[in-house]
C-alpha cells in the first residue's frame, strides 16, 4: 500500500485509541475533585469512599492515556518528517509548552494523588487532585492550540522555498489564540467532561439497578447529573460557535459537513442523510436553508459550497465527514434531552424510581465517547487535503525515508498491543466496578472504621 495512506491509517488509529483515555481522565478528574472537596467540606466518609473508588479507575485510565500519548509525541517525527520540519517552529513550541507547563504538573502530583493517602494530609491530597485535574486541562489547551493552528494558522509567516520552506512564528499570542483555538478548547474540554461524567453516571446507575451501594450511588449520580446537564447544554453553544468559526475560516469543511456543493447558494441543514459525491446530491431529511439560518440568522444568505474550490482542494471523503458530523450532533442533542429529563425527575423527586431511565444511563456511557471520536474525525477529515490549512498538503507531509513495509510493521505492532491493552482496560475496570467501592459482605460501618 501507499506510504501516505499507511501513515495516515497509523496516525488515525493511534490517536483515536489514545483519545479514549485523556477525555475520560479529565472528566473523572472533575467529578473526583468535587467528591473530595465535598468530603473535606462535610467530613462525610461516603464522599471519601467515592473518591477512593473513582481514583482507582482514574489511575488505570490516566496510565493508559500517558503511555499511548508518548507515542503521539514522537510519531510526528517518525512518520511526518516533512511536516515536522515545516511546523516545528510553531507546533513544536506548543508541544514543548504542554510538556513543561501541563504534563510536568499532572505527572508529579499524580504520584501523590495515587499513593499519598497515608503520607500527606487530606488537604495536601485534595490540592494534588486539583493540580492533576488542572494539569490535564492545560494539556488539552496546548494540544488543541497546536491542532487549531493547523486548521486556522495565525501569527506566522512562511520563510524559504521548496524543501526549505517552513512556518516561523511572528506573534506568539496570535498563534496561541488563533481563530479557532478558544472555541475548540472549550468544545474539547466539555466533550471530556461528558465522557467522564457519563462513566460515573453509568456505573452508579448500574449499582442502583442492582440495589447495591444505594446511598453513595445516589450522591454520586446527583453530582454527575448536575455537571452533565449543564455541560451538555453549554456544549451546544460551544459547538455552534465552533461551527460559525468553521464557516468563516474553513468553508470547504463546513460545506462537506452538510454536503453542500453549489458554489454560492442558501444551504440546507440535514437531520440525517447520505451524500453521493458523484451526483453531488444528498438524500435525507432536511430543514431547507437551515444552515444559512444557523450561520447567518438569515434563510436566504448564500453559503460557499464545495464547487467553489478546485477539485484537489476539497475534502476527499465528503460523505464520511457528513456522517461523522451528524452522528456527533445527534448524540449531543440526545444527551441534552436525556439529562434535562432526568434533572426534571430529580426535581420532582422520582428520578431513582425510573428503572428504564437508569438503564439508559447505564448504557449511555458509550455516547460521549462516540461523539468525541466522530467529532475529531469530522474535524480532521474535513481539513483534508491540507495538513496545514492552505499551506502544506497531507500528501507532501509524510516521511520520505520511511517505506511502506516499515509502517506496516509498526502498524501491526500497534494493532496487536493496543488490542491487548484495550481488553486489559475493559477487564480491569469491569472488575473494579463489579467489586465495588467496598466489600459488601462486611458491614459498611466496619469498612469506614478501617478506612
Amino acid at each position: 500500500m501507499d506510504v501516505e495512506i499507511l501513515a495516515r491509517i497509523q496516525f488515525a488509529f493511534t490517536i483515536a485509541f489514545h483519545y479514549i483515555y485523556p477525555p475520560l481522565s479529565i472528566g473523572i478528574g472533575l467529578i473526583m475533585m468535587i467528591m473530595e472537596g465535598l468530603y473535606l467540606k462535610t467530613g462525610n466518609k461516603q464522599y471519601e469512599i467515592l473518591t477512593r473508588f473513582w481514583l482507582k479507575i482514574f489511575a488505570i485510565t490516566f496510565g493508559i492515556g500517558v503511555a499511548t500519548g508518548i507515542i503521539m509525541e514522537f510519531e510526528f517525527g517518525t512518520n511526518w518528517a516533512v511536516y515536522s520540519r515545516y511546523v516545528g517552529d510553531i507546533f513544536g513550541s506548543a508541544l514543548a509548552a504542554e510538556g513543561l507547563f501541563a504534563f510536568g504538573l499532572e505527572s508529579t502530583f499524580l504520584g501523590i494523588l495515587l499513593f499519598g493517602w497515608n503520607r500527606v494530609s487530606p488537604k495536601v491530597h485534595f490540592f494534588s487532585t486539583i493540580m492533576v485535574f488542572f494539569g490535564s486541562m492545560f494539556s488539552a489547551v496546548w494540544i488543541v492550540v497546536a491542532n487549531s493552528w493547523q486548521q486556522t494558522p495565525a501569527g506566522y509567516h512562511i520563510v524559504g522555498e521548496g524543501f526549505n520552506a517552513r512556518a516561523e512564528v511572528t506573534d506568539f499570542w496570535a498563534m496561541v489564540f488563533n481563530p479557532s483555538s478558544v472555541d475548540r478548547i472549550i468544545h474539547v474540554w466539555q466533550g471530556a467532561f461528558l465522557a467522564g461524567t457519563f462513566l460515573v453516571l453509568s456505573v452508579h446507575a448500574y449499582y442502583l439497578l442492582k440495589n447495591r451501594y444505594v446511598d453513595i450511588s445516589i450522591k454520586a449520580f446527583k453530582i454527575s447529573l448536575a455537571v452533565a446537564t449543564i455541560v451538555s447544554l453549554t456544549q451546544l453553544l460551544s459547538g455552534h460557535s465552533s461551527a460559525d468559526g468553521v464557516a468563516v475560516n474553513q468553508p470547504a469543511k463546513l460545506a462537506a459537513m452538510e454536503g453542500h456543493y453549489e458554489k454560492s447558494a442558501p444551504a440546507d441543514m440535514y437531520l440525517f442523510g447520505w451524500v453521493n459525491n458523484e451526483t453531488q446530491e444528498v438524500t435525507g431529511i432536511k430543514i431547507p436553508k437551515g444552515l444559512s439560518f444557523l450561520v447567518h440568522q438569515d434563510f436566504e444568505e448564500p453559503i460557499t459550497g464545495l464547487n467553489a474550490f478546485p477539485e484537489d482542494e476539497r475534502p476527499g471523503q465528503v460523505n464520511a465527514v457528513f456522517q461523522f458530523y451528524h452522528i456527533m450532533v445527534s448524540i449531543g442533542i440526545f444527551l441534552i434531552c436525556l439529562t434535562l429529563y432526568a434533572s426534571y425527575l430529580w426535581w420532582r423527586g422520582t428520578l431513582f424510581e425510573k428503572k428504564w431511565l437508569l438503564k439508559i444511563f447505564a448504557f449511555s456511557v458509550l455516547l460521549p465517547q462516540i461523539a468525541n471520536q466522530v467529532g475529531w474525525f469530522a474535524a480532521e477529515m474535513g481539513r483534508q487535503p491540507w495538513i496545514v490549512y492552505g499551506h502544506l498538503r497531507t500528501d507532501e507531509g509524510f516521511s520520505q525515508e520511511v517505506s511502506s513495509n516499515q509502517i506496516l510493521f509498526s502498524l501491526i505492532m500497534f494493532l496487536v498491543v493496543y488490542t491487548v491493552l484495550f481488553l486489559l482496560f475493559i477487564y480491569s475496570v469491569n472488575k473494579k466496578i463489579k467489586h465495588g467501592p467496598y466489600d459488601e459482605a462486611e458491614n459498611p460501618d466496619e469498612f469506614l472504621k478501617y478506612v
Partner: protein, 345 residues
C-alpha cells in the same frame, strides 16, 4: 544572531535539550535499571517492593522524556524529524516497549494468579532491559554518524543497520550504567534480605559496567574517526572521562559505608560527565553525515527561528523552577524505605 550572556540561542537551546535528556537518563535511568534487575529477585514480595519503590515517581521521571522530545521538536525540528524517520524501526520498538512497561507496572499486581504475575514480570524485565539497551544504541548511532545526503535525506539501511557492533557496545554500556544506578536506588528503598541481595547484585552490575565501558572506550578511540580531534584542540576535555572514572570509582566505597544517597549522586555524576563528553564531542553537530560533513545536521541549520527560540527560553526560565518545585515535593513525600499499603501496586 541574538545572544544571551554572550551565548547564541541555538547553543543555549542545545544546553537545554542536553540537560533535559541528562535528567531523563539519570532519573528514568534508575527506574529502568531497577526493572532490569527484576527477574533477579525470586520472591513475589521482593518484586512487588521493587515495583513500588519506583511506583510514585516513575511517571514524574518520565516527564523528562516528554519535555525533552518536545524541546527537540520545537528547537531543532530538523534534528527531530531526521533522526526519528531515519531510525524508524528502533524508535517504534522503543515506544512500544514504553507502553508495555507501563502496562506491566499497572497490571502486574492487580491479579493473584501465578501465571499472570510471571508473564508481567517477564514483560517488565524485558521491556526495561531493552529500553535501556536501545537508548544506548541510539546514542551509538548518533556518535557514529548517519548516511545523510543533501537536504538531510537518509539513504542508509532501515531494518537492522541500527544494530552496528559499536551501537551494541554503547547499548550494553548504557544498560550496565542504568543497572548500577537502579541497584543503588533500590538499596535506598529496601530493607532486610532483599537489601542484602541487592548489595551482592550491585557488585555484579559495577563489574558489568566497568567491562563494557572499558571496551566501548577503547573501540571509540580506535575506530570512531574524529573523536580525538576535539581533545587535541581542547585538552581540558580530558578532564571529563577522568572525572567520570573517579566518580564511578567512588561508588563501591560509599556503598560499603552504607551511604546510598551519596552513592547514587556519584553514579549520577558519572552519567552526567559521560553525557557532557558526548555533548562537547558533537557540538555544534547534532547528526553527523558520513557522506559529506556539509550535509550534517547542526544546531544552526536545524534550529527554529531566533524568535521561537527566544520564546521558548523564556518558557524554560518560568517553567523550570516550577517543575523543580513539584519534583522536590514529590521526592520528599516518598522519601524513605518502601512500605506496602492499600494504595500500592
Amino acid at each position: 544572531m541574538e545572544t544571551f550572556l554572550g551565548i547564541d540561542y541555538p547553543t543555549l537551546w542545545y544546553l537545554v535539550v542536553g540537560l533535559l535528556f541528562s535528567g531523563y537518563a539519570i532519573l528514568e535511568g534508575f527506574d529502568y535499571g531497577a526493572g532490569a534487575w527484576h527477574l533477579f529477585f525470586k520472591k513475589d514480595l521482593s518484586r512487588r517492593i521493587a515495583i513500588n519503590a519506583i511506583g510514585p515517581i516513575w511517571d514524574a521521571n518520565q516527564v523528562w522524556l516528554i519535555i525533552g522530545g518536545g524541546a527537540l521538536f520545537a528547537g531543532f525540528p530538523v534534528m527531530y524529524a531526521t533522526m526519528l524517520s531515519a531510525m524508524y524501526i528502533p524508535f517504534m520498538i522503543f515506544l512500544m516497549l514504553l507502553v508495555l512497561r507501563s502496562s506491566a507496572i499497572k497490571f502486574r499486581s492487580s491479579e493473584d494468579m501465578k501465571w499472570w504475575r510471571n508473564t508481567w514480570d517477564i514483560i517488565y524485565f524485558a521491556s526495561n532491559t531493552l529500553i535501556a539497551f536501545l537508548l544506548g544504541v541510539v546514542l551509538g548511532n548518533i556518535l557514529q554518524g548517519f548516511e545523510l545526503h543533501e537536504n538531510f535525506s537518509y539513504k542508509g539501511g532501515v531494518i537492522f543497520d541500527f544494530l552496528s557492533p559499536y551501537a551494541i557496545m554503547t547499548g550494553f554500556t548504557t544498560l550496565s550504567l542504568f543497572m548500577t544506578q537502579g541497584a543503588i536506588f533500590l538499596l535506598l528503598k529496601t530493607e532486610g534480605r532483599l537489601h542484602a541481595r541487592l548489595t551482592f547484585l550491585l557488585k555484579k552490575g559495577m563489574i558489568f559496567f566497568i567491562i563494557s565501558f572499558g571496551v566501548t572506550s577503547m573501540y571509540t578511540l580506535v575506530f570512531i574517526p574524529g573523536v580525538t580531534d576535539s581533545f587535541k584542540e581542547q585538552p581540558i576535555f580530558f578532564a571529563l572521562p577522568i572525572l567520570a572514572f573517579l566518580a564511578v570509582a567512588n561508588v563501591p566505597r560509599l556503598v560499603s559505608k552504607k551511604k546510598y544517597f551519596q552513592a547514587i549522586v556519584f553514579s549520577s555524576l558519572t552519567m552526567a560527565f559521560l553525557l557532557m563528553l558526548v555533548a562537547f564531542q558533537l557540538y555544534p553537530v547534532l547528526l553527523f553525515s558520513t557522506i559529506d560533513p556539509s550535509y550534517s545536521v547542526t544546531i544552526y541549520n536545524a534550529a527554529s527561528s531566533q524568535k521561537s527560540l527566544g520564546i521558548m527560553l523564556t518558557m524554560v526560565v518560568i517553567g523550570a523552577p516550577l517543575l523543580a518545585g513539584y519534583l522536590i515535593f514529590l521526592y520528599k513525600t516518598f522519601n524513605g524505605k518502601v512500605k506496602l499499603d492499600d494504595t500500592s501496586y
